[in-house]
């Protein structure tokens, strides 16, 4: 499919967001190695295009919402979570988006429509259904997005959610970030059909397979899906073929990857695909790209420094936020 190219400002926004995510996650990795961030983390280097294409469609003011997985830094940042509350959360500081109580796997910011990044595989899907139910009952134009990995399609919650979304024709967009692996196990060992999208027919819903490294192609497919949802026709399953450059989580060296696989994917880096296109179209120069990258690195660095200086939550807050 030839996707219509976006306007220069739209492309700039997406580029900026991808660079921000990349720089932020590189910092997260460093902070982990330095033990400034503890616990675990799941980086999305290589998958940034999905997050920014998503963000282009999410209108929190309209009531749109998003749920995604523990690999959710990219989505949170693309949707507009500030770098400061982001880093503060990962460090467990009081200024974190969730006051430090959530951590890397549990990012929530209702002001940008982010219900949460879910740490239990498949758990976010039915919750997005509920958000879509609200839209349906209230006759609003809101559209609701849920993201999951290729490994998540084998859990019961996934199936129940696709079925219910189809039966109730809910305004939901189900986005699979198929990065070829669930933890350390390749997709083909756990799923008997070549594509996740091959399962949509079981629910009578449309499915689209899209190049997950091409933010514009993703944007176009999601646009269709949004229109489909808003027309009352129900859910769409979108499968983005993508790749994570790093291991599953910080302790994983990804030794299970066949040699050369990473290198091949690095050739199709989502940031460079967009940047190259913008340069070819005269919307960006290599020098401007470098300046932008540099600016963003500085912003990220500043946010890290800010977060480092923030206090931890007072232990008096321990038993707060349990009950509404």
């Amino acid at each position: 499919m030839l996707s219509p190219s976006l306007s220069a400002p739209q492309r700039h926004t997406m580029l900026r967001q991808m660079l921000t995510i990349r720089a932020a996650e590189d910092q997260v990795q460093t902070l982990f190695v330095e033990n400034v961030i503890s616990g675990t983390t799941h980086l999305a280097n290589g998958q940034e295009a999905v997050a920014v294409a998503l963000a282009a469609h999410v209108q929190a003011a309209r009531g749109d919402t998003v749920t995604c997985t523990y690999r959710g830094h990219s989505h949170a940042l693309a949707l507009g979570m500030g770098l400061q509350p982001f880093f503060a959360e990962l460090m467990g500081k009081a200024a974190g988006c969730s006051k430090g109580k959530g951590g890397s796997m549990h990012l929530t910011d209702l002001s940008i429509g982010l219900i949460g990044t879910f740490a239990v595989v498949g758990a976010g899907l039915p919750i997005t259904l509920g958000a879509a139910l609200t839209a349906q009952v209230k006759h609003s134009a809101a559209v609701h997005f849920t993201l999951f990995g290729d490994g998540a399609v084998n859990i019961g919650a996934w199936h129940e959610s696709l079925n219910l979304a189809a039966v109730w024709r809910l305004p939901v967009i189900l986005i699979c970030e198929n990065n070829l692996y669930g933890e350390y196990t390749p997709y083909a060992l756990t799923s008997p059909v070549p594509n996740v999208a091959d399962r949509a027919a079981a629910y009578g819903i449309p499915a689209r397979i899209v190049d997950g490294q091409d933010a514009e192609a993703l944007h176009a497919v999601l646009l269709e899906a949004v229109q489909h949802a808003q027309s009352g026709a129900g859910p769409t399953l979108v499968e983005a073929k993508t790749y994570r450059y790093r291991g599953h989580s910080r302790t994983d060296p990804a030794a299970y990857r066949p040699p050369g696989e990473l290198e091949q994917w690095l050739q199709r880096d989502p940031i460079h695909i967009l940047a190259d296109r913008m340069i070819a179209d005269g919307q960006l120069t290599p020098a401007a790209f470098d300046t932008l990258s540099h600016d963003i690195d500085s912003q990220v660095e500043a946010a890290v420094q800010w977060a480092l200086q923030q206090p931890y939550p007072d232990t008096s807050t321990l038993y707060e936020d349990i009950w509404a």
């Binding site: 009531g63 919402t65 974190g96 988006c97 969730s98 006051k99 430090g100 109580k101 959530g102 549990h106 929530t108 910011d109 209702l110 219900i115 949460g116 879910f118 239990v120 758990a123 899907l125 039915p126 919750i127 997005t128 259904l129 509920g130 958000a131 879509a132 139910l133 609200t134 839209a135 349906q136 009952v137 209230k138 019961g156 919650a157 129940e160 959610s161 079925n163 219910l164 039966v167 109730w168 707060e320 936020d321 349990i322 009950w323 509404a324």
Partner: protein, 326 residues
């Protein structure tokens, strides 16, 4: 006052709250068009329409999850899981998601969701349709757990549950659906965390809920004939737990018996007694006896089931075991 069955009291609560607040919606398996497996909800689908009262596929995880999502985004959903035993297939959504989302989001999220289900035995439904499941939900923090014993409480507590901004597990006892009782005509709300003293006495405090409360009251009646006066307390809600009412009673009776329709390791009595032991051991003049099902499943065979579930005789035996004399 009107006389209403427990079943109809639940329906009245749903009806009143659906009518009161258009954000209240209700869904579950067969609850709409056909009025529910326990015949609790007929008429609601016709009255409130297919947007607000829905039949679902057999997908408990999706049902609870959709309830959570709708709750987060502004509705006040009530979902039904039919037999409480089936909550096990949706356990993650209940205890890991609904219960924890507010905390994990640093207080951004609220989940005003009511999860209704029917629990309990005594009806020959066998091991997978007869459990009292309170302990499953009390095991984590973040869920209110409500166990109405009378029609008035079923009405008043369910209305409170629906208006509560937290996830509430609302456990109806299926053997009580056909019980009748007096219910106020006017709007009736029963606050959470207030136990009810159903019978005053000074020899022993008996704490129970739901069907076991009926057994406790019968036992108290029989014992009264012997001159033993039991104070019988209905906890009404297990989370929050009204320890104060139990302690006040203990100060008077100095003896405690709990009656629980569950295995010994799976009731609320362990929590209750450990709290009393911490705060009020000096009030106790005797061991605390928990009358439970011991270590067991619920057998189908009617006489076996009857022998397993605590009844009047078990309670009287416990009172005698404590050596209580008139």
């Amino acid at each position: 006052m009107t006389t209403l069955s427990y079943r109809d009291a639940v329906r009245r609560a749903l009806d009143e709250e659906l009518a009161r607040d258009e954000n209240v919606i209700f869904f579950g398996e067969d609850v709409g068009r056909s009025g529910g497996v326990f015949k609790v909800t007929p008429g609601l689908f016709e009255k409130f329409g297919p947007d607000r009262v829905r039949d679902t596929p057999i997908s408990e995880t999706a049902i609870v999850g959709a309830g959570i999502g709708a709750a987060i985004t502004g509705l006040r959903p009530i979902v039904e899981l039919m037999f409480a035993d089936f909550a096990a297939v949706a356990y993650d959504q209940i205890i890991n998601q609904a219960a924890k989302m507010r905390y994990m989001s640093g207080g951004q999220i609220k989940v005003p969701l009511t999860i209704r289900m029917a629990q309990g035995g005594g009806m020959s439904f066998g091991a997978q349709h007869s459990q009292c499941c309170e302990a499953w939900f009390m095991a984590v923090s973040g869920l209110k757990v409500v166990v109405p014993s009378t029609p008035a409480d079923a009405l008043g507590l369910l209305k409170t549950a629906i208006r509560d901004d937290n996830p509430v597990v609302f456990l109806e006892h299926k053997a009580l659906y056909a019980d009748y009782g007096e219910v106020p005509d006017a709007e009736h709300l029963v606050p959470f965390g207030q136990a009810n003293i159903l019978r005053a006495g000074h020899h022993v405090t008996i704490v129970a809920v739901q069907r076991m409360l009926r057994m406790a009251l019968k036992a108290a009646e029989s014992l009264a004939a012997e001159g033993i006066e039991c104070e019988v307390i209905d906890l009404r809600t297990l989370v929050p737990l009204d320890l104060e009412t139990v302690l006040t009673s203990l100060r008077k009776t100095n003896r405690l018996i709990t009656v629980e329709e569950s295995p010994l390791a799976g009731g609320w009595g362990g929590l209750l007694t450990s709290r009393i032991l911490d705060e009020a051991i000096w009030y106790l003049d005797a061991p605390v006896v928990r009358v439970t099902m011991g270590e067991s499943m619920v057998p189908f065979s009617p006489p076996l089931e009857a022998a397993l579930i605590p009844n009047e005789q078990h309670i009287i035996a416990a009172v005698h075991r404590l050596g209580i004399k008139p």
